[in-house]
């Protein structure tokens, strides 16, 4: 390894009919905030820090859109796993 950052990432297609609306966005911020890793959510060519509620909501993520979630940091394994579960259960 030559200092290349290992980033955990996963894709998810939003199933919730209203998309990433206020309620799950708020829950996601809380979930992401419980880990020390940096969590980035990307969709439709835009991205936001998962701890920043307003930017997260402004992505305008709707049902059927694919989201890429990138997790980077010390607890990235655990964080990625927990977040993937979060998306499956809430979105």
């Amino acid at each position: 390894m030559t200092g290349g950052e290992v980033v955990k990432e996963f894709q998810y297609v939003i199933q919730d009919p209203v998309g990433l609306h206020a309620r799950p966005a708020g829950l996601l911020v809380k979930q992401a905030g419980s880990f020390s890793s940096k969590v980035t959510v990307e969709s439709g060519g835009k991205s936001a820090d998962a701890r920043k509620l307003i930017m997260l909501m402004s992505l305008g993520i709707k049902q059927g859109m694919e989201v890429t979630c990138k997790v980077e940091g010390e607890d990235e394994e655990a964080a990625a796993e927990a977040l993937q579960k979060f998306f499956q259960e809430n979105l």
Binding site: V13, Q15, P17, V18, G19, H21, A22, R23, A25, G26, V29, K30, R51, K52, L53, I54, M55, M57, S58, G60, K62, G64
Partner: protein, 538 residues
Amino acid sequence: MERYTGKSVLKGVAVGRVFCYQKQDYHIEKEQIADIDGELARFKEAVETAKEQLTALYDQALANVGEDHAMIFDIHRMMLDDDDYLEAIEQTVKEGTNAEYAVEMAQNQFTQLFASMDDEYMKARAVDIKDISQRVIRILLGIPEDGVPTDEPVILIADDLTPSETVKMDKNKILAFVTVRGSSNSHTAILARSMNLPALVNTEMEPSEEWNGKVGVVDGFHGDFILEPEQEILDEMIRRKNQWVADLEALEELKGKENVTGDGRRIDIFANIGKVNDADAVLEADAGGIGLFRSEFLYLGRDSFPTEEEQFTSYKAVLEKMGGRKVVIRTLDIGADKKVDYFHLEPEENPALGYRAIRICLDRPEIFITQLRAIYRASAFGKASIMFPMIVSVEEVRRIKEIVEQVKNELKVEGYPIGEVELGIMVETPAAALLSEQLAKEVDFFSIGTNDLTQYTLAVDRQNQKLESTCNTHHPAVLKLIEMTVQNGHKAGIWVGICGELAADTDLTKTFLDMGVDELSVSASSVLKVRKAVRDII
């Protein structure tokens, strides 16, 4: 008398005095600040106060309207923790600007993020930004918290209402809401519905304080707000309001009661839904199950076919919500009249008689198989039934059953658990009704789609307003086809239901019971009304 029209969010009637709520307005000037640290501290303190207010509002809303609606105040509190928002304000203050002005700048900047979106739901987020910003500004300016000072119950008129204003109002002091702005997705609308108050949003009017104390009427059935109604109209509205209140109370009492007539005959009353979340209203209305789950929502408003996984998630969500209650899923019912470009349907002269529904599914089995796989996979999570629309022949049903068998076998090989699934057909063509004796031997149930059955039997286009009088929904020919279908179904030992508007027509409830109909599937809002009609039969 003045009449204004708005978008109704709750079908109800209110009569009472009008009160125009105007927020204590403020005007902010940009000022130079010398003590920047002091100003930053003042801003931080204001944010803390705002968060305390929101916590109190959350608790209040939790007690009054439940967790779902209280959540918004939790979200607002989290928005006040948002680094981007706070940093934008602090940056402006550090440049020597007063905090009030800095918050207003951030408000404008962040509101624009959402206001430019094409989605109603996202647009409503702009209101949230405004709400939190104004809360902080008011604290900075020392303006007391918003509230509506009322002694007697009023019809509340406002330009717009924030969620916090709405929830803080004493429900006993409000008869109805009428706002100039707002959408049916706004929190005000949602709260009005949860408090069961008539409300109009998006109303074309210019409220003035001169209206205060005048008598007004809110007619949520027609979306009208009438100021100073003529005596005759007022009397009529009071009568209708009393009727509405009495009906509501009477219907509420029917929750948990059986659908049984005075002479002991029973019928199932189910509800129709068009999307996953509609299932909440079905449970709320105490329906026995879902008699028609239209699957079109999965296909509309997008540019590619929904995947098996997407469909599976939606069906599973509804089945789980409904617990063990029956859910009848109707397969794709789309034709050239719907805008689904990715289906590549040719424009047609007469889409109602064209390439649609089961005809597409049998011609392009890959679309059909994806849907069937998704439903069968979801069937492990509840009590699913499937029905097929636009059937005209026994051969179609046999072909469908072959495909279904193939799907079930594939899923078993792949190791998916599947539940017991009843297969039925929509009887919505005269052909299906006339062949019901043979068709009944092939399926587990019939569901009579009265809208299309009427249109095809009477050769009347439902959309054509000139034909409204010809389109007699109680036409003896239609009723005869229904009766025949019920008899043939019962002869073969299968159940027969009615979905479609006629099922909720309480003038026919007795007729249907007499025919022996087993199930009526109606809109969630009609469930209790039909239950009442059943119970009123002696």
